[in-house]
Subunit: 218 residues, 2 copies
């Protein structure tokens, strides 16, 4: 593998964990990975420390680093928190959002709609992300914005799966319209509820997915 600076190692490992290259419980072998990255153990160990704090890796003293993929329960919990965080962003944004941001949201929605019609899942995904990140920003609270973005990123691999549900993209679009409306009319509670339900439904869809996968293996 190509040579990398230590700054990027944590990021690359993160991608590998998200991407499913490493399974839950896998031990991250320092020397093997060091060889793979073409560096020594030192920068790898520094990367482990970072990954440990964001919960992707568990550092067991004298035993090593183990990847910690969230289980079904933890994932449901994370989706619930995501829904609530987005609701908070929406409530604050309804009071603080700028006119140009409203336009940005409408633009993102229009491009989303186009992606739906073209059955362009990737395009939909990108515009959907822009839509949500705009709302985070318009909460007017950059700490909240960062926290929301952090959790959004962490849930990314799992959110993607549930987009495949039949009709989900169209339904999601309708929800987006309702959210923009509430924000444009400056209705905090309405925007909050619309966003909470919009994200919560993702958690439910995910739950269904998990259940169906489980019943297949029975």
């Amino acid at each position: 593998m190509e040579q990398r600076r230590a700054d990027n190692i944590a990021e690359t490992l993160e991608e590998h964990i998200f991407g499913g290259v490493f399974q839950d419980g896998d031990r991250l072998d320092e020397v093997r990975l060091a060889e793979k990255f073409g560096v020594s153990r030192t920068p790898l160990r520094e990367a482990f420390q970072r990954l440990a704090l964001s919960g992707l890796v568990e550092l067991v003293p004298r035993r090593g680093a183990f990847v910690r993929q969230p289980g079904p329960i933890e994932l449901m919990e994370m989706f619930e928190v995501m829904a609530e965080l987005e609701a908070v962003c929406g409530r604050l944004a309804a009071r603080r959002i700028s006119d140009v941001a409203i336009e940005e949201l409408r633009d993102a929605n229009a491009r989303c709609q186009m992606a739906v019609e073209a059955k362009d899942t990737d395009g939909y995904y990108i515009e959907n992300e822009r839509f949500h990140k705009t709302i985070y920003r318009q909460s007017g609270n950059s700490f909240l914005e960062q926290e929301a973005a952090k959790l959004h990123k962490r849930l990314k691999p799992f959110r993607r799966q549930q987009l495949k549900f039949r009709g989900r993209m169209a339904q999601s679009m309708a929800e987006h319209e309702a959210i923009v409306d509430a924000l444009a009319r400056g209705e905090p509670e309405e925007a909050a509820n619309a966003l909470r339900n919009h994200v919560a439904v993702q958690g439910e869809k995910f739950h269904n997915l998990m259940a169906s996968l489980k019943s297949q293996s029975d």
Copy 2:
């Protein structure tokens, strides 16, 4: 200074940053701290990585580690998020809380009241923390519980200052009673609003404190 294992170094540095030993912008000198702790640079650098992710330290490549104390604006934002997180905990807890937990909250409040009457600030502080942590837990979402506890810990040094405001402890007690009532009656929105205002007022008090400190220096 006494010898320490690397596991504790990050924690100790964190305490020093919270405790105000290091000021905002201070550079954390690797060799000096290594001497102080009686270890080599390696475990210190690993500790820096951890502190960087929790936002206490900024790691500038090829320049070193600098402590990042949140400024007034960032602190206000953090208090706002804390208020909203507690509100979420309250709303969920109103539906999920157990009878024994209600009793725990009442107990903590009673001990809080005793501390107020005895003008025991430390005692008040401890019971107040127990009160809030119980609500986090009763949200029934352990991911949320952890996130709330993390932010609570981060705001600890700043929350403490505003307890000194005259009459704040008594007012806070009354708010606690209202919160328990709403939870006991199973009223989600009422519990959420009571908690949001309870925490938000801390942010406002903090704002007042900052303003008064600033005017003194004029």
